[in-house]
Amino acid sequence: MRARQTLFFLSPWLLTLAAFYLFPVVYSLVLSLLNFNPLNPSATTWAGLANYSRAFQDPLLCKAAVNTLYFVVGTVPVTTVLALVLAILLNRSLPGQTFFRAGFFIPTLVSMVVISLVFKQLYAQDGILNQALSLLGIPGRAWLLDERTAFPGIMLMDIWSAIGYYMLLFLAGLQAIPRELYEAASIDGSSKLSQIFQITLPHLRPVALVVIVVNTIRSFQVFIEVFVMTRGGPLNSTLTVVYDLYERAFYRFEMGYASAIAYLLFAVIFLVSLIQARFLRLGQPVGG
């Protein structure tokens, strides 16, 4: 009787778990070992590990992987540091504090499609950025059509759109630090700056780990920006792994190969998260 009741409460979740998590995870592993085209399912053949070995020799995918790595390395540290600086500055009482926090936070709630469209306008030949530059006498360009500036432009936008969220997480972490620590340090005569290094940063390490891991996982999956702004161009300079995966699965219907790419990406993300957790020594006592 009691078990039946519990099952009743759990059953909606168990059904969605089976249909949308367990089945897909297993099925995409199977798919990754097949040559499968949904338009022609009768032509399905066993591929074994061929999809995986193909991935390592695929110049387009390698280009996408390098770009994605570049994106992660170029955005995550900058976002983390800027979010931390803003959080520390906003943690004291300032006129307009609530207003400022909202101003930084709102962009993180707005859909990436909207943000991408707005920045596509900013970066366009007739966009506001070029108009501002022309006031300074600097010649403009179509930033997203130039292979040297398109990807950095997308990265800059990503940093802009992400800072507020991580700032908020750092703020929550800052508010959990006991005030007495700072008071004691002040009495001991340590400066504001050395308090940041001796009290604030060590205490923020668990939050910093969350910020870095969450942002890294998200950045490895960068897709919407590319879909809306450049579709991987110009000259594949903005092609990312998930965008490549999407085109292979849903334009060329190479779903077996795309599943192998998805699994490889998942493995990379998982490994990188583990390394980051180890590096930042998750679970160690604060201040050690």
């Binding site: 969605t16 906003l90 101003g103």
Partner: protein
């Protein structure tokens, strides 16, 4: 004093940089050849099925919010209050679902929906998101922070399990349910890759997908139209933020900081 002023000036500058793009979007959305008004919005509504996109997004978001508030609440309640075999393993599974990236599941889900003839239906856009692991986590966390006294009193009074859940637990969990509802709304309203692959008919596109595809079509350089479409997509989120910023922030920080 001087230092405080410098800090304030720095933050103010950062604030201007941070808010300018969205203000610029609003400005362009109201501007048509030197005039200000709602011309872009009415043109946009006339030029594509944008009203339909908005409707689709609203319908999907409504059901996803209702699903998470009731079904995820049931799950969170079971994890917080019931003891059963395999609870630890199942709860670890909840956490696990949060770590699986979308692109690892989207191809099988696409094939599943194709087989079930559910592509281009509301069901395809709603079912995968009906019970989110994050919602379960929030409810469980909240219920664990409350003593089970009221529920036990209701049971002593002879209330059925369903009644205990519906009339005692649900009202008690209201603050957590609000966080769940708002979070589910924002996530779903902005959701992109799943609605993109699970729909192909224009009439079934959601607002973000319809907007992104509209931007790739022949209208690609009509910034007035594009910015008014963007503003339409952003405004409900801004409204929700103005009304519920406390719940939004509590949801985000609970999710990440307490994990």
């Amino acid at each position: 004093m001087m230092k405080r002023l410098l800090v304030w000036a720095f933050i103010f500058l950062a604030f201007l940089l941070s808010s300018f793009p969205l203000f610029w979007m609003l400005f362009l959305s109201f501007k048509t050849q030197g005039q200000f008004g709602l011309q872009n919005y009415s043109d946009l509504m006339a030029s594509g099925p944008f009203a339909r996109y908005v409707l689709n997004s609203l319908v999907v978001a409504l059901f996803v919010v209702l699903g998470n508030v009731t079904l995820a609440a049931m799950t969170g309640y079971a994890f917080a209050r019931k003891s059963f075999r395999g609870r630890e393993v199942l709860f670890a599974t909840v956490l696990g679902t949060l770590m699986i990236p979308k692109q690892a599941t989207m191809i099988p889900v696409f094939i599943l929906m194709t087989k079930l003839h559910l592509l281009d239906t509301y069901a395809a856009l709603i079912l995968p998101f009906l019970v989110d692991g994050f919602s379960i986590l929030l409810i469980r966390q909240y219920l664990l922070s409350l003593p089970p006294d009221l529920e036990e009193a209701a049971r002593l009074d002879g209330a059925s399990e369903l009644r205990v859940f519906w009339q005692v637990v649900m009202p008690l969990a209201k603050p957590a349910l609000a966080v769940v509802a708002i979070n589910a709304f924002i996530v779903n309203w902005n959701s992109f890759i799943y609605p993109l692959i699970l729909t192909s008919r224009q009439a079934m596109r959601t607002l973000p997908v319809g907007l992104a595809l509209y931007a790739q079509g022949e209208h690609s350089l009509d910034w007035g139209h594009l910015m008014s479409g963007s503003a339409l997509s952003a405004l409900p989120i801004l409204l929700v933020f103005l009304l519920f910023s406390r719940q939004i922030i509590s949801g985000l920080t609970q999710g990440a900081v307490k994990g």
